[in-house]
């Protein structure tokens, strides 16, 4: 028994036109293995076959050639779907259901008791920041709000394996941050996650391994640390120095190391952090919003509902850290 949760072998998908002629080779001989407890990132430019890979893994598309197995079973096995969560590229939800009804509907399709679903629904809504709009119909939601609900829907069964197709698209920076934290938390709880994203910075933070697709083929695959570490330059962080001191240091390095390309810059406050600060202020001021309540005050920080006993404090801690760092 191998440790691989998802396994593909020479997976190929060719889209045909109405007359059966080959048109698009969306995926070409893809062979990957995703291990239990791993966060795997699937990167690539638009149309490189990321979503197609996910759909093949979920049985929404049938492979032209090759094989996929999930938990060691073929994808058309219904039983394995009990342990899977899926957030598609867009949240294809029912406009006429309310957020609560949506979670209820999907929850009841699983082999979970009604009580469990009743308990999890408000927790999940709270977690994705939709606690206050639970009884509004989904058709009134903004894109980001639908996205958040889509995410809650993917987690209703406390899945072992989660497919996230661009989970941060349409989300505000705080939502993005929350999702990042969420993924980390999931990982800590031993879940396996397959993530497609364009936000490289986020992928860099959360993924253990990544694969970069181009034209349906894997260009690079490997551990993030190994792929990203550069061995030919260094970064020094120092307090503000007097110009003379700086000059001396520069001379010293030039003399002893014989290096020429030395640049000196101030570290920039990233826009993301600035935005965070502004919103944090708004939350502290108790401003109302009809949209997603992005971040609660310290007391109301949501927790991830779990079926098993686990430390759900992680998420809270990360958000707190994030907020307190600047002060």
């Amino acid at each position: 028994m191998s440790n691989a949760v998802v396994k593909t072998h020479n997976l190929t998908k060719i889209f045909k036109d109405f007359w059966g002629r080959n048109k698009v080779k969306a995926l070409d001989k893809l062979s990957i293995e995703i291990n239990r407890g791993e966060v795997f990132g699937l990167l690539g430019p638009n149309g490189s076959g990321k979503s197609t890979t996910l759909k093949l893994m979920l049985g929404l598309l049938f492979p032209t050639k090759g094989k996929v197995s999930i938990f060691g079973k073929p994808v058309n096995n219904t039983a394995i779907k009990e342990k899977i969560g899926f957030l598609p590229e867009e949240s294809y939800l029912y406009g006429y259901l309310t957020a609560k009804e949506t979670l209820f509907f999907y929850g009841n399709l699983f082999d979970i008791s009604r009580n469990q679903i009743k308990k999890r629904t408000p927790q999940l809504l709270e977690m994705v920041g939709l606690g206050k709009v639970g009884s509004r119909p989904v058709r009134e939601f903004s894109k980001g709000m639908t996205r958040r609900l889509g995410l809650a829907q993917a987690l209703i069964n406390d899945p072992e394996l989660i497919f996230l197709d661009e989970p941060t698209s349409g989300l505000d920076p705080i939502g993005t941050k929350q999702i990042k934290n969420l993924i980390t938390e999931m990982k800590n709880r031993g879940k396996t996650i397959l993530l497609c994203s364009h936000l490289l910075a986020d992928v860099e933070d959360v993924c253990d391994r990544i694969a970069i697709l181009y034209g349906g083929k894997i260009r690079v695959m490997g551990k993030v640390d190994e792929l990203l570490s550069k061995h030919d330059s260094l970064q020094l962080n120092l307090p503000e120095l007097k110009p003379e001191t700086l000059k001396q240091i520069k001379c010293l390095i030039e003399k002893t190391e014989n290096a020429s390309n030395i640049t000196v810059e101030h570290p920039k406050d990233r826009l993301e952090k600035f935005f965070l600060k502004v919103i944090e202020q708004a939350v502290v001021d108790k401003s109302e919003t009809a949209g997603a309540n992005v971040l609660a005050t310290e007391k109301e920080i949501p927790e991830i509902p779990e079926t098993t006993e686990h430390n759900s404090k992680t998420n809270k801690k990360i958000i707190n850290d994030l907020l307190n760092k600047e002060n």
Binding site: L58, G59, L60, L61, F86, L93, Y96, F110, D111
Partner: protein, 460 residues
């Protein structure tokens, strides 16, 4: 089971949030109660009630069927197009359960409509009666109730087994004329005609006798005789005189009637049950006394019918709505089936086509086979005819129509307007065949198609 119901309930929620749908339903609910006023008829209580019974039922059946078709045709393909199926199909639900869930949803939505329609329909009947009750005598009221608001069973005169007799006669003929060649079809026609003359034609001044069986344990005082005949020529005084007598004088009380009735339309009159003997047999003898010496011809089917009460109108009314429900079940199955591989407009078109064909299925089948019989009989007669391309294609089409749901065969309208009982055997058979066999066939095929479908493929 849970997921099927869950999906079905979601469909209902969807319908409840569809403004167009709610609007159409409201219009329906408004039109229905106005029908007893609109369908006024000739102003008599009987005419009013009969017209209302017939057309309200037609209207309700038509409207409910169309609703069922639209709702079911919008089920699978809509979710496929809106890609909501991506989520549904990645949940642990078998594909056939999804198909069944959508079917159940469509059926339940229409069922709500049927129940509303039935209540309003029944109210309409009560309203018409209450309107005429003060102005009618008790006798007249009883007559209306007996003819329209009743639940009558009927038996027919015994039919000779033409097929058996003819084949025996042909065998005899073959023995007598050994070695000679003969035209099989011509001979068969000749013998058939002979039996028909012997059984159903009464020449002037002749008497013909028939027995009606199965009139045991009647709980009424009278039975109704309903008859229709034709004459060899148009009678001068527009009527034909005849003597009818009922009951075998050796076993029961004989009743004699002298009647002058016009040909080609149905007539009915009541006779006392004392004419029936203790075995439940009724001997009918008919003597043609026409003054212009015309031959009387009774139709082969339903020429003479004996009707008697069996059960209440209310029960019959409920049964008729159960038949409508059967019809809805199969129409929803057809709609869901088409929606598993066609776009909404095409699915609606195909379903409407099937619906139209279904309401005329028996007629088409008669047209194609002349006998309106089952395919087994069609096969049996196959050897006797020269096989041509035309005949073979006729048979194939006849088969296909036979596989169709025969909506006309389960239409409750003739029962309700004639005050005839919907027999429980017939009802159970209809429920079984229509819901389990025919709906099942469409749902199964739909599931197979849906199971093999690539959900995320772009629909062309």
């Amino acid at each position: 089971m849970g997921s099927i119901v869950n999906i079905a309930l979601k469909s209902i929620k969807k319908a409840m949030h569809d403004k167009m749908f709610i609007g159409v339903i409201l219009i329906f609910i408004i039109i229905l109660p106005s029908l007893p006023i609109l369908l006024y008829g000739d102003g008599t209580a009987q005419g009013h009630l009969k017209l209302y019974l017939t057309y309200s039922l037609y209207f309700i059946m038509f409207f409910v069927s169309i609703t069922a078709i639209f709702i079911s045709c919008m089920s699978l393909n809509e979710e496929l197009e809106k890609k909501q199926m991506f989520l549904l199909c990645t949940k642990p639900v078998e594909k056939w359960k999804i198909v069944l869930g959508f079917w159940l949803g469509a059926v339940l939505i229409t069922l709500i409509l049927i129940i509303a329609a039935a209540l309003i329909n029944y109210g309409g009947i009560k309203w018409i009666i209450s309107r005429y009750e003060p102005s009618l005598s008790a006798l007249e009221m009883d007559k209306i109730k007996e003819q329209l608001l009743s639940s009558r069973k009927s038996v027919y005169i015994e039919q000779p087994d033409i097929k058996k007799i003819v084949s025996a006669q042909i065998a005899d003929y073959k023995k007598e004329h050994k070695g000679e060649s003969f035209d099989y079809q011509e001979l068969e026609k000749k013998f058939k005609r002979k039996i028909f003359y012997e059984t159903f034609c009464v020449p002037p001044r002749y008497e013909k006798k028939w027995t009606v069986k199965g009139l045991n344990n009647l709980k009424t005082d009278t039975v109704t005789i309903k008859f229709k005949y034709f004459s060899s020529e148009k009678p001068k005084d527009a009527t034909i005189s005849a003597e009818w007598s009922f009951g075998d004088p050796l076993k029961a009380r004989q009743q004699n009637y002298y009647l002058e009735k016009s040909p080609e339309i149905y007539h009915s009159f009541n006779i006392p049950v004392s004419a029936i003997d203790k075995d439940g047999n009724l001997l009918i003898s008919f003597t043609n006394l026409d003054n212009s010496y015309l031959t009387v011809i009774f139709p082969e089917k339903n020429g003479i019918e004996i009707m008697f009460h069996a059960g209440s109108f209310f029960v019959n009314f409920c049964k008729s709505y159960l038949l409508i429900f059967c019809q809805i079940c199969v129409l929803c199955a057809i709609g869901v089936f088409f929606s598993s591989f066609l776009s909404f407009p095409v699915a609606v078109l195909m379903s409407l086509f099937m619906y139209a064909l279904g309401t005329q299925a028996t007629y088409f089948l008669n047209l194609l086979t002349q006998s309106g019989s089952s395919p087994f009989e069609i096969i049996n007669t196959m050897g006797n005819e020269k096989l041509s391309f035309l005949i073979i294609s006729q048979k194939i089409i006849a088969y296909m129509i036979y596989a169709f749901p025969h909506l006309d065969a389960i239409s409750p309208v003739p029962y309700i307007t004639d005050g005839r009982v919907i027999e429980i055997n017939f009802l159970l058979r209809s429920v079984f065949i229509i819901i389990f066999v025919k709906s099942g066939f469409f749902l199964l095929t739909g599931s197979l198609i849906f199971n093999r479908k690539e959900i995320a493929r772009v629909i062309v």
